[in-house]
């Protein structure tokens, strides 16, 4: 430990406070007993899909396409997830299949 227990506890509380602020802010700004402005309702409708796209990119952000293996494991595994999901439409199967394939690729094929 680099910090004292008291300092560590304060650091945990600081991280928690910052994180919780981002979670609570929208709910504090638009309390449930009042109708939020139409623009906020609109955002609530379009944001989930947009954010899901952002999260996919976020998960793949550190993949380097200019260095071996050129992002191939990720490309193949994501393609497998998409194909499996279009084919069977089973959420768990798509995720498990893609993950097992990815583990094989990074541990055995491109290792």
């Amino acid at each position: 430990m680099y910090l004292t227990p008291m300092q560590t506890l304060l650091m945990i509380l600081a991280v928690a406070a910052g994180t919780q602020l981002t979670r609570w802010l929208p709910f504090l700004l638009f309390p449930e007993n009042r109708c939020p402005p139409a623009v906020v309702t609109y955002l609530g409708r379009v944001l989930p899909t947009a954010v899901m796209g952002l999260l996919v990119v976020y998960c793949l952000k550190s993949v380097s396409v200019f260095q071996a293996p050129y992002g191939l494991p990720e490309l193949v595994a994501v393609a497998a997830v998409v194909i499996l999901h279009k084919w069977k439409g089973n959420v768990l199967l798509s995720i498990a299949g893609g993950t097992v394939l990815y583990m094989l690729l990074v541990q055995a094929v491109f290792a």
Partner: protein, 241 residues
């Protein structure tokens, strides 16, 4: 579970929570694998910096910060600076603002449960709750609570396992955290099924890719959010019709 029922002042409907848990558990399985894996990695990493399972679990339970907790490891190994930690947490977690905006409607009028749902809102819980509808026989509130609670516990249990016996693990888990990437891909496809969601999906991906190209992998989230907000608000008239 029984305590929660009493707290909500709702009579005991037999099997109500079992039904909700049974509906929620299968959809959280990808989160289970991802969180156990990443939580363990976190526990092991904290251990290697001299912070034992007690501290790792405390951080996971109180802050429940995912990627921010990994960033915080760096902060715990330099000079004591809680203000910097606070500000950095806000920036790293700014995406939560979007989750709250999106869930204002679903989290309306849920009583005491609501505070817990907001406290434990994370990427994975948000993605599931905004995409997966509860079965007819399960109240949305119970479904949301089960998903949130399960995801929260996976993270804490993963952290504890990692902190306590991470050094004895022999199974090669490299790549297991891809489960979370796959989860987001699948949930994106589920959203994509509805034709009216597609423009927003394309906007989300292109803004994120553009931000990644311009600002690099470490600073992609906030510019992507600003850009997305601008395009979504600018195109409101077109997207609404």
């Amino acid at each position: 579970m029984e305590r929660t029922e009493q707290m909500n002042g709702i009579g005991t409907q037999p099997g109500r929570w079992r039904l909700a848990a049974k509906a929620a558990f299968p959809v959280t399985i990808p989160v289970l694998t991802g969180f156990l894996c990443l939580g363990m990695a976190y526990g092991v990493l904290m251990q290697s910096k001299g912070y034992g399972p007690f501290w790792a679990v405390l951080m996971s339970a109180i802050a429940f910060g995912g990627s921010m907790q990994f960033v915080a490891i760096t902060l715990l190994t330099t000079a004591f600076d809680p203000v910097q930690a606070f500000l950095l947490s806000i920036m790293v977690n700014a995406r939560h603002l979007f989750y709250g905006l999106s869930l204002l409607e679903k989290y309306r009028g849920l009583g005491k449960v609501r505070a817990f749902l907001i406290y434990t809102l994370c990427d994975e819980t948000f993605s599931l709750i905004s995409t997966v509808d509860p079965p007819l026989e399960v109240a949305p509130r119970d479904f949301y609570l089960c998903i949130s609670l399960m995801d929260y516990l996976y993270w804490i249990v993963g952290t504890a396992i990692g902190g306590i016996l991470g050094n004895f693990l022999t199974f090669d888990t490299t790549g297991l955290d891809f489960a979370l990437t796959a989860l987001f891909v699948v949930l994106f496809l589920e959203q994509w099924k509805k034709r009216e969601n597609r423009p927003a999906g394309i906007i989300g991906i292109s803004c994120a890719v553009m931000s990644l190209l311009v600002f690099g992998p470490d600073n992609l989230v906030i510019p992507a959010m600003v850009l997305m907000m601008a395009v979504l608000l600018g195109g409101r008239k077109t997207l609404c019709t």
